[in-house]
Symmetry: C2
Subunit: 464 residues, 2 copies
């Protein structure tokens, strides 16, 4: 998988991995267009939900970072420290948003701005000792968003968690065509200080689990550290309640890896920089007519909101063009040649199923829209669903579970939500971990660690 | 001016200046929407001109920065150095793009990718010893774009400079409604290593000059330092030719300061997050009808591509609403009340001229479009033009010029383009500097420093 991934990122020109600082890379134009399309999706979604974009600086005073000693002790070995020649600076590079944001939230609360509901899309920095993987584990985590909200009551906080979970679901299902796997992390293994977390996981083609976006109910833990208090109607001071959520390029990782095939990428239409590529196929004598028809088709599609383009390159054969755009994962290819001109048709190739069909010109827009909005997303979903089913297997015995994990993928097991059992499962083997409780599935059985009867399920598998 | 500026930034909620790291600030939602609108404008413009967006990391190896010792010596006292606890890091934070990009360009050129034409929008970091001003002189320069291009010939390079200059012009005139002042910087006072620079200046309300976007013809200077060579048809190795351009939030500074008035901001329509605010004015008995009409109007405008909203707040009077949206610089306010309902009209208030007029409902869209696309931009242009005229005065004698600069604004003087004369003018008084030669204006006269006859003109004035 790693080989396919690195090769696909290179051949499709998603990134250039040759930048010499470990754990960092260059976003190439095509890759960045995919990322930007994803960012536009979350921008629209968050703002529709009343969550406003802000920008906090990347330089953070160490003393802010130290206000929550749990946070600081958890992060300090992985921080980047910043200095200048002229002045003593006590700065770190932004690692997560809390230390930069929460002292300013204190001022906003005093100005009567509760609830606070904001997000920021920005690079985050973590010195990673472990092996880095492009977009999976980076030292500069580019285009990372974090939502932070502050509320007066626990109830508002819970509603916000619910809303964030729905937003994640929307991005997974509607935009990325990947089924979300939601897990409730146990309270003893959550974001420092949080009450609980809802974590999304994806299963990658090699059968390993990747954490992919979490919603953290911070309760009052951070509010107490940062002095986030409000005065209620009775004049009493109360600590606020908080939620934070974050994710970034790992969305793209999941979409690239789960939908890709032996020919290269297969992009979900909503994040495809080019949704339709038109390849004119001509001889000298009909060149002008074919190219004119291709351009007209392009213009017509563009006017109707489809991201299309014509590949008019003279120094590439039709075959070379097919090859390139298949690697790049363009959802639909339209071929126009002599035959199509004569019969007023177009040949449409679907990247997902690799099927070609001939469509009457007057039917084109209806057909293309249906493919982009319904048929291709449905197929991508179905394939990913089936892949997940083939990788996840229920096990009621630890030996069987471990065998499945080593040879195939992820085991689904009953567990009783006790810390001891979690620790037992987590210590079975380096790199194999339980996820915590599945949100949307229950099945009566016996905890695989202690044998206690329980309907709760956890996945367990190798993790990134 | 500083007082107006800081007050306007705060009251209109553009930024929060209370972030405790000097030279940095928080972008608030409304301010960031203005900045994002500006970024969308340059994204569209650059990509239409075939310049593609990329992302290079913020962490840059010091050895890369040292490849051009002129660059390094110029910047080293103003760099931020980055380290981690676990590993010796020889990293700096991105200050300008060259050190990060050009070693990778070397690889791209070997892959046959000439010409390279890319840009990046990203934070840049400079330790500033001088007084910092929000968006004018920051230590974290947020949303800074840089275009970098690499070419085979000097001619291609010149064409690119020309194209960049036209793009700057477009952004100034069409988007920001500010007349550009283009100056050719003398070769002895340009970006380290450049052959020449075209610099844009704006004159702020206090009569001081602000550098606002430059196009640098780098010639072959950087190509020689970074080994950017290509092999021509004859098999000979040649150094490449390069151009770089950059600007960022200073665009916004100019627009805010030049168009604003005693009531607050006056936003150019294309960067206004809200172009039309609808204020319903009702009593209890007609509340429902008025609000319904306001919502319909909003929906109708939104459907027609106008960024509109209704201010339905119950806890604010109409007067308070007027006051807020005037501070925030919303170009058009529509008032709907009993009178308007009865007569099927709307009352339209223009923020720029502060004039109200009554318009028939069926005329509204035509009227609003004309205001946003023509009339308001024209007025903003005209006002800025007149302001510039009032601030710039031709002088043929150094004493008169200095008096004008001190009491009014910027002097326009003849100069012969000799280094000695430039230095003489630059050393007249701390903080007063010549700009270099005006691109679009000539006038025969005598160099104000040496008396030699010349048609060349320079501005001279206090600078930021």
């Amino acid at each position: 998988m790693v080989e396919w991934y690195n090769k696909a990122l290179e051949l499709a020109e998603i990134v250039d991995g040759r930048y010499p600082v470990r754990g960092t890379f260059v976003w190439m134009p095509y890759g960045l267009k995919i990322m930007r399309a994803m960012i536009r999706e979350w921008d629209a979604l968050f703002q529709k939900n009343g969550i406003e974009e802000v920008y906090f600086p990347l330089l953070v005073p160490i003393e802010y970072a130290q206000k929550n000693e749990e946070w600081f002790n958890g992060f300090k070995d992985n921080l980047y420290y910043v200095s200048s020649l002229r002045e003593e600076e006590n700065l770190i590079l932004r690692s997560t948003g809390e230390p930069a944001m929460y002292p300013i939230f204190e001022l906003w609360i005093k100005q009567g701005k509760l609830p606070i509901r904001i997000y920021q899309t920005v690079s985050s920095f973590r010195y990673e000792g472990r092996t880095t993987h492009t977009m999976i584990r980076d030292r500069e985590i580019t285009y990372w968003y974090e939502i932070h909200t502050v509320h007066k009551t626990r109830e508002e906080c819970e509603e916000e968690v619910e809303r964030h979970t729905r937003m994640h679901d929307y991005l997974w299902r509607e935009v990325l065509c990947v089924p979300p796997i939601e897990v409730r992390r146990p309270p003893f293994d959550v974001f420092p200080g949080a009450e609980y977390s809802i974590e999304n996981f994806t299963i990658l083609p090699d059968g390993r689990l990747l954490e992919n976006g979490s919603v953290n109910n911070l309760g009052q833990a951070y509010a107490k550290k940062f002095g986030l208090e409000y005065v209620d109607e009775k004049g009493d001071r109360n600590y606020c309640w908080q939620v934070c959520t974050g994710n970034g390029a790992r969305y793209i990782v999941a979409a690239l890896l789960l939908h890709g095939d032996e020919r290269g990428l297969v992009l979900p239409p909503r994040i495809a920089p080019i949704q339709v590529v038109i390849v004119p196929i001509y001889k000298k004598r009909n060149k002008d007519a074919v190219i004119e028809e291709a351009r007209k088709t392009d213009l017509f599609l563009s006017k109707n909101g489809v991201k299309s383009c014509v590949d008019e390159r003279e120094d590439a054969t039709a075959g070379e063009k097919f090859y390139l755009w298949e690697i790049k994962g363009v959802p639909i290819r339209i071929e126009i040649g002599e035959e199509e001109l004569k019969s007023k048709t177009l040949t449409i190739f679907r990247r997902d199923t690799k099927m070609e069909s001939v469509v009457a010109k007057r039917e084109m827009l209806r057909r293309v829209s249906s493919l982009l909005k319904e048929e291709i997303p449905n197929t991508l979903h179905k394939t990913a669903d089936e892949f997940y089913k083939s990788k996840i297997k229920y096990s009621d015995e630890i030996g069987k579970a471990m065998k499945w994990i080593k040879n195939n993928g992820v085991a689904k097991v009953n567990w009783c939500e006790e810390k001891k059992c979690y620790d037992d499962l987590a210590s079975l083997e380096q790199g194999i971990e339980p996820t915590g409780t599945l949100e949307d599935e229950h099945r009566m059985g016996h905890c695989i660690a202690c044998g206690k009867k329980t309907p709760k399920l956890s996945l367990i598998g190798r993790t990134y």
